[in-house]
Amino acid sequence: MKTKVKSGRGFVSLWKYRWLYVFMLPGVAYFIIFKYVPLWGLLMAFKNYQPHLGLMKSSWVGFQHFARFFGMPEFWMLFRNTLLLGLYSLVIFFPITIILALLLNELRSELYKRFLQTLIYVPHFLSWVVIAGISYMLLTTEGGVINDIITGITGGPAIEFLTSTEWFRPLIILQMIWKDAGWGTIIFLAALAGVNLQLYEAARMDGANRLQQLWHVTLPSIRSVIVILFILRLGSFLDLGFEQVFLMLNAINREVGEIFDTYVYRVGLQQGQFSYSTAVGLFKSAVGFILVIIANKLAKMFGEEGIY
């Protein structure tokens, strides 16, 4: 078998495997056209792009667009909004997923567990439009069932969930939890299924109760999975659900809801400031890239494998 592996060199082997290369052509073409050509388009951020001149003939302006962006009051607003949403999803959404998985794991009835899993996975497959739609229908002050209940009980005025600044972030986090917390348990449940049962046996011998078993056996056993996933989330800190936020934004909650991505869309495609918004997008991507690198370093410091 081994002799087969060193199967010629250069053109000989290229010809030998020609069909494999042919198979790869559509894929490679896709990645070059839709992932690498846009990198070239990033030059726009350093130019004053004018559509009638084209990218190459437009004049260079260096870091002018970046300077303008950093000097704007909007910059800090976007920075704060993006950071806070990222932070909330990290400290609220992430632990909830783990707790949910731990609780599911403690269920004795396999049938009940399956049934619940089926229920809580479903929202993951809904579009953000549907989720935003359901949120609007339930929360609107004009006949939404939640406000009907609130006014029914308190007799007071309805709460402006959808058009207020203080409810925006809680709503976004709640939607995240409803859509994806169940789905997120899959990986933890798999890790939990791999825990050595003898460890529980030994813990019980030592007189550990259920909670102590959970704390001293179960949690440490899935520690590495938790660390890896935490780091992955840290790495994609700035990549909040763009569609989700976009769909919940309106004129009133914009000051707490606008994030880098929605801003790029609004100023870039809607207002036609291509170069400026490309610069904003590039800034965000660069920060995200650095975060991934740092997160991966952290993973290795923790003695984990890292993600690359």
């Binding site: 894929g27 839709f34 388009g41 403690e106 479903v122 497959f125 809904l126 990986i187 259920r210």
Partner: protein, 286 residues
């Protein structure tokens, strides 16, 4: 696993059973409400009268029926194209001795960490003449780098001896892929087929970015118009007719949500055991 349960342990179980039951209920209740309300013409907290008028209405409008047609078309065609391109590339990349393989793999991995972003991608799609064409809803997301890598791992786990012996018997690479590798990787194909399909069916943003004639809008855009913006109803004569969404109220909106979600809920049970496996492989290897 937990034999000889003590009393505190039993209490723990009871609480856990109840709490998780409530969680399941909370996950599912919104659906029940949406479905029930969709069968009601009135705005009430709990609908009492059953009617099919809402469904009759939305299916009588050309706008809605056409958008469903667009969504079905791009989902079927797009999923086939995505699975084809992904599995062909994954198959080639699964041969460890293929010259240039690691370079291409690196190229794919890099796209997961860094990309040109919204505006430059938009310009590429525009340059290709895809603006306002349904191709813009299928081609820019043709391959997910992540699914590609997981599928490559799936293919690489097919016993190498099988492939070698087929080659000795004179089988062509296409034959090997179609008759040996793909049948053995059915769970992966099912899972990623579903993920691709759900992704295309659910996409909203690419449609508002690339498509500007309302006749070509997929159902998600129509959904947003009706439910969130509560504007631009389903009335075919451009809103001038008195028969608009406001007249039917919540019921019509809910019916639109239900119909646009049904295709997903229909395939879900059949693929459930596969996607759990696929998602798992994905997350572990990722």
């Amino acid at each position: 696993m937990h034999t000889h349960a003590s009393l505190p342990s039993k209490i723990f179980d009871a609480i856990n059973f109840t709490v998780l039951g409530l969680v399941g209920l909370a996950a599912f209740l919104p659906f029940v409400y949406v479905v029930v309300t969709s069968f009601s013409a009135q705005n009430v907290v709990w609908p009492t009268e059953f009617t099919l008028d809402t469904y009759k209405y939305i299916f009588s409008t050309a706008t809605f029926v056409r958008s469903i047609g667009v969504s079905v078309y791009i989902t079927l065609l797009g999923t086939v194209l995505s699975l084809l391109a992904t599995s062909l590339m994954a198959y080639s990349l699964s041969f460890k001795y293929l010259p240039g393989r690691s370079g291409i793999l690196l190229m794919v991995l890099f796209t997961m960490l860094f990309n040109g972003g919204l505006i430059p991608t938009y310009f590429v799609v525009k340059q290709l003449g895809m603006i306002n064409s349904l191709w813009s809803l299928m081609v820019p997301g043709l391959i997910s780098a992540f699914y590609l890598i997981v599928m490559r791992d799936f293919f690489a786990s097919v016993p190498h001896e099988l492939i070698e012996s087929a080659k000795i018997d004179g089988a062509h690479d296409i034959g090997i892929l179609l008759r040996i590798v793909l049948p053995l990787s059915l769970p992966a194909l099912a899972a990623f087929g579903l993920f691709y399909a759900v992704g295309i069916w659910n996409q909203y943003f690419s449609a508002i970015m690339y498509i500007n004639t309302p006749e070509k809008w997929p159902v998600q855009v129509i959904l947003r118009q009706i439910v969130v913006l509560a504007s631009g109803g389903l009335g075919d004569s451009g809103g001038s007719s008195g028969e608009n969404v406001a007249y039917y109220g919540q019921g019509v909106k809910m019916a639109v949500i239900v119909v646009s979600t049904i295709p997903i809920l229909l395939v879900y049970p059949f693929l459930q055991k596969h996607f759990a496996k696929g998602a798992l492989l994905g997350s572990v290897k990722g």
